[in-house]
Assembly symmetry: C2
Amino acid sequence: MPRVKCPKCAQFENIHKAGIVRNKQRYNCKNCNYHFIQDKKKTKNSSEPGRNDKQTSMQDIAQAAGVSIATVSRALKNKSDINRETSKLIKELANSMNYQPNILAQSLVTRSTHTLGVIIPSLETTIFSTMLSGIQEVAATAGYRVIICTSNEKHEREVANIQALMNNMIDGLLICHSIQTKTFEHLRIHLGKRIPIIQFYRVAVGLPISQILANDESGAEVVTEYLLKKGCKKIAVLLGPKELSLTQNRLQGYLNMLRKYKIKFDPKLLAHVDFSQESVIRSVNNWLEQFPELDAVISISDKSAAQIITYLKNKKIKIPQKIRVVGFGNEFVGEMLAPKLTTYDTQTRIIGEEASRLILEQIISGSRDITTKTVPGHLIIRESA
Amino acid sequence: MPRVKCPKCAQFENIHKAGIVRNKQRYNCKNCNYHFIQDKKKTKNSSEPGRNDKQTSMQDIAQAAGVSIATVSRALKNKSDINRETSKLIKELANSMNYQPNILAQSLVTRSTHTLGVIIPSLETTIFSTMLSGIQEVAATAGYRVIICTSNEKHEREVANIQALMNNMIDGLLICHSIQTKTFEHLRIHLGKRIPIIQFYRVAVGLPISQILANDESGAEVVTEYLLKKGCKKIAVLLGPKELSLTQNRLQGYLNMLRKYKIKFDPKLLAHVDFSQESVIRSVNNWLEQFPELDAVISISDKSAAQIITYLKNKKIKIPQKIRVVGFGNEFVGEMLAPKLTTYDTQTRIIGEEASRLILEQIISGSRDITTKTVPGHLIIRESA
DNA sequence: ATGAAAGCGCTAACAA
DNA sequence: TTGTTAGCGCTTTCAT
């Protein structure tokens, strides 16, 4: 029982609720048939003075200003239909009371959180943090926050992250798939929804989702042709896992050029690695054993290229005289190596920026057109090739 | 006017609202004094079939199961006071209807978002992305999301980010200050609040905020002593901006060892840089001109150390024979250099992990004890010193 | 074991 | 120009 006492007959029993008026509960005492009201407002700011737990709300400002909450909302939102005086007073009050809007409440009503979600395999790989930086920069400029979740290259974490983010936390999702991810049901179920999704860098083919990509195929073509023109005959290629579209595309570019220059393709010159130093070194070693005449290596990343260069130098193999090495990504490390790394700059940062721009556009315009954009890169010639 | 028609007298005028019953608006027609009800429920799922805009809510499940929303909530939350059958039915229903809870609504009620906010100067600096990775990893394990905002080393962006995050979006804030940040009013105003704040790596001194720090002073001592024992006499130190506690601490460690080994301190051997390659090279050049007998450089980071090594090699200065170089941070690049970089491993990842752990503990336990934790590092001896 | 209802803090449609 | 009210989707008392 709510333990309400009738002010007339002073009874606790048979008191029934009878609607609410102005945030006050009306009661009806069945004993004496008396209707009365009792203020329901909790005693606010009742916590100890030590911790000012309670944020000031519009309610508080309204009370202080002697206006309604709606008026406060209007003032703070700079709506037109409000008295300039009132508005000024309210804003000053809000300021002095150190008012901060509750974004959750705002978002719940407006159905927009001004937050982008990004799912990325790792934060510790240079290209990913560079893309992220591009995403973040564009988003921040547009007044959007970014929630970042890492999948750590695990499929189940990617799935869990998507689930978690798609529950109204974000206005748009940017995703770069984990290596493990080979099925895309977890993405497909979100496709019809209000929240736009864009894939970048590593994408799933065949899904109706917009994509922002590096120019992998033509990048591989440029690199391969460059090496071919330098007279290389045996060009090995270090690739990522077979399933990645990126891997396929680079391979395609490589093959295109072999065909163009009428070089016979030898599948033994391909290696698929998992980005670990160990797998990189193992691949290089295999090549060295099988192909004494090996004269070039195209690496999947600058980091791997750095490992390759270090390894070859240990073996006293001259770079670029005996073997030319080319990387992908134009990471910082390339310039620090000796010899300095020749690399294909995939414009990683731009990829992030473009992805961010595209999703913001979709969020703001409401359009869900499916587009695929390829960010052009270029070869940076240094010393290693 | 709401344009409500009285079903009895078919009039539109003089219809007054008269309370709400079961989500239906009751009206009273003053013309014929007839009370009637009109369903207020919007026609749900009324959007075109192309886009299933509407997420299924508890309301929908309740309707489908023929129970109240409260019961659905109880079932999905695995509360005890619920029939096992009912619970099972509801859960199956929720599953088949592909229900996703609205986190905003949940958070609004429970006042907890299961999200950490992190403010960091940049994503493209190795140590920061490593710390972030540590934070993210611990947070994810505990079921927390991470919102990352970069200040880009700008004070005003740090301030704006803090404001934005502290508006109920997050349960805890981890902050690593921008270089520009020299006043801390923007932090202080949030100190009394419900949301705990922790500083890491770069911290403000004198504020009642918990801190997770690298062992900078003792790290600098270890490095300096190591060089001293190798016989170095002229040890230059590349430091960050003077204001950073980190800078002060490393300097202190350096001075401690000079005193211990009775070496006279020369302030010209210090340089404060802004992390740009240009400022690093300029400092090194200055030293080279002023101190022909220079025999060691302690660098602020491995990245700067890499730049120094590259520069010295260009100048045909032998490392470590003529000049020894030691870095800080144990970044990936150190192992790729020739000679390989000797560096003080500050255990950056652990710093992130510890910060994450501490704030999660404060969030969960509610305690706000102010602690300062220093993460121990160690010297990694390679070839450059 | 279940339902009714209040309310988290806000926006917006509508009424005055 | 301002106030009233409903409601966003959920949790949580209280009453049954």
